[in-house]
Subunit: 442 residues, 2 copies
Amino acid sequence: MSADGKLHLGAFMRPVSLHTGSWRHEAAWADANFNFDRLSYLAKRLEAAKFDAFFMADHLAVLNMPIEALRRSQTVTSFEPFTLLSALSVVTDRIGLVATASTTFDEPYHIARRFASLDHLSRGRAGWNIVTTSNPDAALNFGRTEQPDHAERYARAREFYDVVTGLWDSFADDAFARDAASGQFFDPERMHVLNHKGEYLSVRGPLNIARPVQGWPVIVQAGASEPGRQLAAETAEVVFAATPTLAAGKAFYADVKGRAVAAGRSRDDIAILPGAFVVVGDTVDEARAKRAHLDSLVHYESALASLSVALGVDASGFDPDGPLPEIPETNQSKSSRERVIALARNEGLTVRQLAQRLGGYAGLAFVGTPGTIANDMQQWLEEEGSDGFNVTFPWQPGGLDAFVDRVVPELQRRGIFRREYEGTTLRDHLGLRRPENRFFPE
Amino acid sequence: MSADGKLHLGAFMRPVSLHTGSWRHEAAWADANFNFDRLSYLAKRLEAAKFDAFFMADHLAVLNMPIEALRRSQTVTSFEPFTLLSALSVVTDRIGLVATASTTFDEPYHIARRFASLDHLSRGRAGWNIVTTSNPDAALNFGRTEQPDHAERYARAREFYDVVTGLWDSFADDAFARDAASGQFFDPERMHVLNHKGEYLSVRGPLNIARPVQGWPVIVQAGASEPGRQLAAETAEVVFAATPTLAAGKAFYADVKGRAVAAGRSRDDIAILPGAFVVVGDTVDEARAKRAHLDSLVHYESALASLSVALGVDASGFDPDGPLPEIPETNQSKSSRERVIALARNEGLTVRQLAQRLGGYAGLAFVGTPGTIANDMQQWLEEEGSDGFNVTFPWQPGGLDAFVDRVVPELQRRGIFRREYEGTTLRDHLGLRRPENRFFPE
């Protein structure tokens, strides 16, 4: 159960939607990648529904996929997160604004400065989703012929975090007196020069920006690997989990909270919010039909790649309109393969439907009525599968509007989601304390 | 004379003002470094006055200065340009938004992406002020123990420009069909993979963002050195000159326009806009008194450093309240020394007043009535000293309001400044054509 016994909700956003068929939906805003008015509408709707945060997914490359999948992908182009979230800070007052930024392909001085600036602009609503960027195509856009290995990326990320938070602590909160009479704008005694020299990074400092409103913007992470979980346990305040079932969620929740305690932190210092794809209908069947329609808009040839990966076998020879044949054991993770096979059997999906399901959105999904969705979310909360969710919508604006108009009131009626914001900053929403300045303790 | 025979005006902004005494002025907004409402007011005022652009100065470090100067400096902290200009794009419709970004301490993929995003957000109003960052303190914030030398910085800048503009050309304008029926979001045949491998940079591409509204954001530069002028002649569309006198302005103007023609461009492909500090009064004496008051707010001990540098001798032993003593010849540039000596003699300044003048704002200044200021600006325009100015204001909002309310109408009355915007993009304002896509010519 989360610290306050309530759900915390982020909106996991791509301008058009994460679902690869979404932009073809009759009522979708397919032009949202470069239409600020659309995104402004969505952010305001989420704020009116009292969401904790608007979370902008990001990539540092055009994603590498087969050309037939690429030509159908709405992911190829969109606003860059800092420019978009800065603009959204003007049209919103309360909702948190979380941007993804890479510790592998950016500089800590730039990252510290931009998040601090977004935090000042938004008066305390910024969050940093720390990613190490596993995409090898990104490396090629930044002068690297090969991707640094996993362990090195995580070691650098840990040091990068120390540097960024150290730069955020460059000034005491009371450093800036701006005393016109004496002429003292600030007190250099209340400024710290970091002088960091580490294994991967050398950064002198100080940052040329006052300490963020929140002290530090909220730290978000999504690592699921062993070093990813450990980094999260030591540093993250929100963990974006990718747990596909309640059982997996509970195991992950216990593991990461346990690691946090072992690292000297409190369980309540971390909110665990799995990604969840939510489709709302008047009946469960209607919601399923909505999803099936959306999945049918996914291109079969490209979806086949997702199915082949999930099963660990080449699925291109299967009869698209027949049932899933028997699948032999492979090197592919057993739980993933069995989950996919069970999905096909339980829902009676053809190979084509199964591929399109996985190619559309393969993770945790709540597909049903406001009541069944609220039941599921409440169960995750009460059984410690999560402290809430990063909700992603099947298409926009309709799928988002349905969640806001129908599911949120049901969660509020049950007393498991706020009716009003408790404070003004993202830390307030998440019940997180403001970190002490390590160089200027109170 | 500029291409359209009219002045082009940028506002060269720091949140509080560039003048080091400005924040102490009775009517100044000393808190503007982190007060978006203040900056929103200023940008809207400049837009209502039909300025071409809002130009955000920037640094990548807390500036290195003596501690007694530093504690009095409002430059130590402020919003970062991309976050600020993105937010300002929401509260304005027409004014250009120019950000400084470094070719020495940033990555071309990031720079290309952010400016493209700002250009999409603002519907064609972004400009990139290319700087190579000469400040050695910046190097220390980015893992360099020493600053790369001048020639190397400029060689890298030239290559960086090629990469960024190449990335902007990643997609043809018609690449994005978004045809829901066929499922084709875009045409990969209309996407170019840059595959740049050069002396300083390796960047594969494509950029994950559609071609900017302007094709390329407007290219701005301020280099005054030999390689700086050459880079500007080859690439810049706006040159931010630092010419302190009309004679210097005319020489610079002729040189850079000549180099541009030699490089195969047209004279009208570059607008030359010197920085100009403007103080408005009802009489010339009143304007001078306003400036003298502002200068008196500059700290003498820190101003002495500016005077010593300008003269090439240590001025700390001079009587602050006496006249400037005789100054021997030194290695310091003769024109700079003679200009400072003449300034002291002509205006009868004490050593203190002279130091505070130079420590406040040492460059080209127009101090007078709306009529004398318009006379000066018109003379620069007609005699080809410039195509306009990057105006900087003595304090904000008052100094900016005075320019907008009193000088702009006088320029309009004379027919040398627009009464309405001619178009919607920064290129439209400056009379610049949209660059052809090098990979997808029309």
